[in-house]
Amino acid sequence: MLDYVIKRTGQVVVVLFLALTAVFFIIRLSGDPTALFLPPDAPREQLEQFRKQLGFDRPLHVQYTEFMTKAVQGDFGTSLRTREDALQMVINRIPATFQLAFTSLGLSLLIAIPIGIQSAYRRNTWFDQAGVAATVLGQALPSFWLGLILIYLFAVQLQWLPTGGGGSLVHLILPALTLAAYSVARFARFTRSTMLDVLRKDYIRTAKASGVPTYKILSVYALKNTLIPIITLVALDLGVLLGGAVIVEVVFSWPGMGRLLMQSLLNRDFPVVMAGVFLIAFIYAVINFVVDLLYAYVNPQIRFK
């Protein structure tokens, strides 16, 4: 067990290191930040001077070494745009990001699992076909399109919900729904296929033969065994939900991490981008680690290997 934890921690460190390195070099190729901050009438000498001040004139490997040395100590530098601590800026977005991510996650599981179970149980019936089609539809809608349409319907026409912004639970509904539309499809299909596997198992057949009611079979025996693979898939998707909700965040003016990262990318605000990459990779790694432990806990047959 301890060996396993150490090994996994080592892996996480390697992944973080590689991610930061890759993004560091890729992003330096994306252009020079200085010109985006200085006024357009700043002469070239001023641009040069500013670049020097920020250290962008030095060879790349020197910049990289300095960055890594500081990053190891948790110092990602200050944002070029706001002059605040880059890591702190990203950390400040975590609550909003988590709110949105977990609400939409919960929402999609609540919708997806019942549909998946029913589809599996009633394989190849109209319900199955319609269920599949409906969930696929959710996945096929570009999220900004769906988002704008939801705003139009619920905020402008019906005026039930606000158009966007952060703050209360009310503001969460539309963005969470939009974000959930995508994952519902994945979760429902996955539940369906896993459920199909489980339903073939001997113990299910035994249970059926001994007259256990169907709903009980489905909800107690089968569902329990489908949950484990679903947890894994959820963990995989969390990465998408945490940083990849950019579009939903833009459409609904939600002050989350994805939007900050995208703006920083467009502004070439390198320190913030690096801090964001670090944080997302870190959270992702931790979640996966926890899921693995959970996995082993739920299913003792799996050994730490």
Partner: protein, 303 residues
């Protein structure tokens, strides 16, 4: 009814043997396709889209890029414009048809290249294991911890926007899906009886890979690809929304959608038709892909 389905699924998990009467394989598949309403619907949608993609330029009634200012923002079914005109007076129907090929190129090229790269790396990782495996899987981990859309954005910020660059960035971000699936397939395959006996009888490695491993990968790759195409077509729309997509005036569904997004309240048809095109195509591809998976490989679930 429900009872029997459940039993059938339980007793007979694999599809029925395909060639009972030496019927050609495609006919068997066609017969099964006709029986599945969703699969058939998916197939028909794909068929129409591909036809439009190939013959579009001859079918479009107008030049897709010809701006006619006097006729801008005409609603559908006016003045000979089936789906109306856009903010520059261009015929939306013609742009939609021309956009079909662009969207198809994005979907299929990305799948092709991402599939190729991902498969090669997946085979290397899965068959040779050792360092190659460790390195490739670490890269996969790194990529996974970074949201797809942000990765694509970063790359496009470096290499710029445009059709080719979109494909490059999508391939760059997309191959890991293939690498993961292929690797796990290969891991299972190399423990199989027939491969082990090849190894024992001294068949060269490359021959084992080319003749015995790769042919067995086709099914999962085809199934996966059918689902990925839709993902990439939608990704183009998302990237366009963020300003890095296929650049105007070249019509692609995604950039038509994002160019029209400011008109959602004033000219609904600008954002509706390309949206419907994307949704229908993604729907078709997904339905067909699901059917394909059921038929070819009921064991493969998700990815």
């Amino acid at each position: 009814m429900n009872q029997s389905t459940l039993t059938e699924a339980a007793v007979n998990p694999r599809p029925a043997p395909l060639s009972r009467k030496r019927e050609p394989a495609w006919r068997t598949y066609m017969r099964r396709l006709v029986k599945s309403p969703t699969g058939l619907a998916g197939f028909l949608i794909i068929f129409v889209v591909v036809i439009l993609g190939i013959f579009g330029p001859w079918l479009a009634p107008y030049d897709p890029n010809q701006a006619e200012f006097a006729k801008k923002l005409l609603p559908p079914l006016t003045d000979g414009h089936l789906l109306g005109t856009d903010q520059l007076g261009r015929d939306i129907f013609s742009r939609l048809i021309h956009g079909t090929s662009v969207s198809l190129i994005i979907g299929s090229c990305t799948v092709l290249f991402a599939g190729l790269i991902g498969t090669i790396l997946g085979v290397v990782a899965g068959y040779f294991r050792g360092w190659a495996d460790i390195i490739i899987m670490r890269i996969v981990d790194v990529k996974l911890s970074f949201p797809f859309i942000l990765l694509v954005l970063v790359i496009n910020a470096v290499i710029g926007a445009g059709l080719q660059n979109i494909i490059i960035s999508l391939v760059f971000a997309g191959w890991i899906v293939y690498a993961r699936v292929v690797r796990s397939e290969v891991l299972a395959l190399r423990e199989k009886e027939f491969i082990l006996s090849c190894v024992a009888t001294g068949v060269p490695r490359w021959e084992i890979i080319v003749k015995h491993i790769v042919p067995n990968l086709f099914t999962p790759i085809i199934v996966l690809s059918s689902l990925q195409i839709a993902t990439y077509i939608i990704a183009e729309a998302s990237i366009s929304f963020l300003g890095f997509g296929v650049q105007p005036p070249q019509p692609a569904w995604g950039n038509m959608l994002s160019e029209g997004k400011d008109y959602i309240f004033s000219a609904w048809w600008l954002i509706t038709f390309p949206g419907v095109a994307i949704v229908m195509t993604a729907l078709g591809v997904n339905l067909f892909g699901d059917w394909l998976r059921d038929v070819l490989d009921p064991e493969l679930k998700g990815h």
